[in-house]
């Protein structure tokens, strides 16, 4: 689903050693893929949006909130940006149960609202059975589902996913992505896997060496990469 007004507008520049990230982009779709090879700067970009890394210069607006504006020395702390972030190694608190992990971001909520929300997410991600267990007692896939639920619990305005489904098989991955797309939360999803990225009703941003080389509707933007893969597969089939 695409609206004409972007809900996120970002312009940023960041330097680390000899690597320079310079990006200007908007998000309008409910599902945007951030596509690029390793080292292209995808994780850095996500971290800057989330507030875990400070850009050298930049301005980021999410909805009505100005998250970053270096010229006016504005930088909202990560906890106030209303952004969820799930990374590859699910960052679950090992000393808390799945349920407690899920509820971590709901600390300020009134008790009943908090418990209702937790139950809702346990059901949505099919993890009710493991609610009382600790992360070390769960499989990789189960942990990722809890991490997603944890990030979504406080109803963020944007969900950032940094290749969190690498441990899942293709089928589970498809199922989870469907589930995520059915929630109301827009997602910025990092991937270097063309099959993963090839979604309908989605946008894509291609990042190469710290620069955005194309952005727009997925099938248009990623067509060259798709063709490349198909050619490879075809070549292999013939051989």
């Amino acid at each position: 689903m695409r609206s004409d007004t972007p809900f996120l507008e970002a312009k940023l520049e960041h330097r680390r050693g000899s690597f320079i990230l310079r990006a200007q982009f908007v998000l309008r779709s409910h599902w945007t893929v951030l596509f690029g090879a390793s080292g292209a700067g995808k994780t850095t970009l996500l971290r800057i949006v989330a507030g875990l890394t400070q850009p050298a210069t930049g301005s980021i607006r999410l909805g009505q909130n100005q998250l970053v504006d270096t010229t006016h020395k504005i930088s909202l702390p990560p906890g106030q940006r209303r952004i969820g972030f799930v990374i590859q190694q699910a960052a679950l608190f090992p000393h808390l149960t799945a349920r407690e992990n899920l509820g971590f971001g709901l600390h300020e909520w009134p008790r009943i609202a908090r418990e209702t929300r937790i139950e809702e997410l346990l059901r949505l991600f099919d993890i009710e059975a493991m609610a009382g267990r600790k992360p070390r007692q769960l499989s990789g896939g189960e942990r990722q589902r809890i991490a997603l639920a944890q990030a979504l619990a406080p109803r963020p305005d944007l969900l950032l996913l940094d290749e969190p489904f690498n441990a899942l098989d293709a089928q589970s991955r498809v199922a989870i992505i469907e589930k995520l797309r059915s929630t109301a939360v827009p997602v910025l999803y990092v991937s270097h896997d063309i099959a993963d990225a090839w979604q309908i009703n989605a946008d894509a941003i291609v990042l190469e060496n710290g620069r955005i080389v194309s952005q727009g509707e997925t099938r248009a933007v990623l067509a060259p990469q798709r063709d490349q893969i198909l050619a490879q597969l075809g070549a292999n089939a013939k051989a």
Binding site: R81, G84, F93, F104, G105, Q150, A151
Partner: protein, 224 residues
């Protein structure tokens, strides 16, 4: 059997450990989480007591907390007597003396906590206080145990500072280590040996109990 000196020693170690942990936890948290330029000098200062000979430390406390300094005079005004020769004086001396033994394990424990967890906590809206209480402290419980253990046993063995500042007052500042020293000075070697043995037995017993409580090490091999 100098039970009074034993009581002073154990009380001193216990009180010092509790107060020192209460001070060292926020201090260590600040050290690992700040970007301030003051961090390095302050970390250096907290390590300083390791380098200072205890008698030198005790001497400076004697002078700095005595009636000749403004600080000492304020204390005397508030309490009616100088800090030296009191149990509280020893507690303050012990806190300074054992400070690095609390701060270093805590800093090591806090910084060993996965950064990803800290970042996730921040993203989920945790304040610094909640971060300390709900994430860092539970995940560094072993380091806190280590800090408490080290402070306690370090203070049990304290001698130089107590010698300088204590005044050898039975029931207040005459610790087991001073008692042994006095017995040696008096050439009462049999008594000194008994007191020393008592000290060693207590230290080893409490250390063993605390190590047992901390549980097996993560890589420990299970015989089956």
């Amino acid at each position: 059997m100098d039970l009074q000196a034993l009581s002073v020693t154990l009380r001193l170690a216990a009180v010092t450990t509790v107060i020192l942990l209460l001070l060292a936890i926020p201090l260590s948290f600040w050290i690992v989480s700040t970007r301030s330029r003051l961090r390095a000098p302050i970390e250096a200062i907290t390590t300083l007591p390791i380098l200072l000979p205890p008698t030198v430390l005790g001497f400076y406390l004697l002078v700095l907390l005595g009636p000749r300094t403004a600080l000492g005079r304020v204390w005397i005004h508030l309490t009616g007597h100088p800090l030296a020769f009191t149990f509280s004086g020893l507690v303050i001396g012990s806190i300074i003396y054992s400070l690095p033994f609390a701060v270093q394990p805590l800093v090591a424990g806090f910084s060993a906590v996965d950064v990803a967890l800290i970042e996730q906590a921040r993203l989920l809206g945790a304040s610094r206080w909640r971060l300390l209480r709900s994430v860092l402290l539970p995940l560094s419980a072993r380091s806190i145990g280590a800090a408490a253990l080290l402070c306690f046993t370090h203070t049990v063995g304290e001698f130089g500072v107590v010698l300088m500042v204590g005044g050898d007052i039975p029931g207040a500042t005459r610790t087991l280590s001073i008692a042994i020293y006095d017995q040696v000075q008096d050439f009462a070697y049999a008594a000194a040996n008994r007191t020393a043995l008592l000290l060693v037995v207590i230290a080893v017993a409490s250390l063993a109990a605390l190590y047992a409580w901390r549980g097996a090490y993560p890589g420990a091999h299970h015989e089956k």
